[in-house]
Symmetry: C2
Subunit: 111 residues, 2 copies
């Protein structure tokens, strides 16, 4: 349970930055090196690496160094746990709305 | 577009903490005061207020002061934009997988 919560923490943190979301979308199209990504997002290598590290910590990206080039690709996590948490939350909201409607229906016409 | 990105930033940031996720789930069951929530999560009022502020900034919670009590309830945002971003991302991943399969199918048996 703690591990599940920590995984959620890391995933939501990774997704909370527009550059990191854009990196994920870019890697969704094809793998890229750190330099490719730094060029694409007009960032320094150091700044880009920090973002990739956060994505890597969340399991959303994996990197591999071949010679002097570090290649990035999407990692094993596919946001399933995030999707699951949001779905459970939205289901609870719907149930609450249903209960409210049922209550209003029962009390309709009461003085 | 910038506004949409900022809304995503705020929502994902709000969801990146286990206490904030638990507050949302708690308010999904019923409204509660800041004191109720501080008791429930064994936190100081100050600490709890900070979490509620982050949720309020994201539009996920609204608060109203009645007398000396600040009441919290779920806000207008229902994570639709978050759900949409994740759905678009996962759709892109599926398309990429389909392209890869089609490529493997075409090249099957090639030397």
């Amino acid at each position: 349970m703690v591990q599940y919560q920590e995984q959620l923490d890391r995933s939501f943190t990774a997704l909370s930055d527009p550059t990191r979301r854009a990196i994920l979308q870019r890697l969704g199209r094809s793998d890229a090196s750190i330099s490719d990504l730094a060029d694409r997002f007009a960032m320094t290598l150091t700044g880009l690496k920090k973002h990739v590290q956060v994505l890597e910590d969340a399991g959303l990206v994996t990197t591999e160094k071949v010679g002097r080039v570090r290649h990035c690709r999407l990692g094993p996590q596919r946001l399933e746990h995030v999707t699951k948490w949001i779905a459970t939350y939205q289901q609870m909201l719907e149930q609450r709305l249903d209960s409210l409607e049922a209550f209003l229906e029962r009390t309709k016409g009461m003085p």
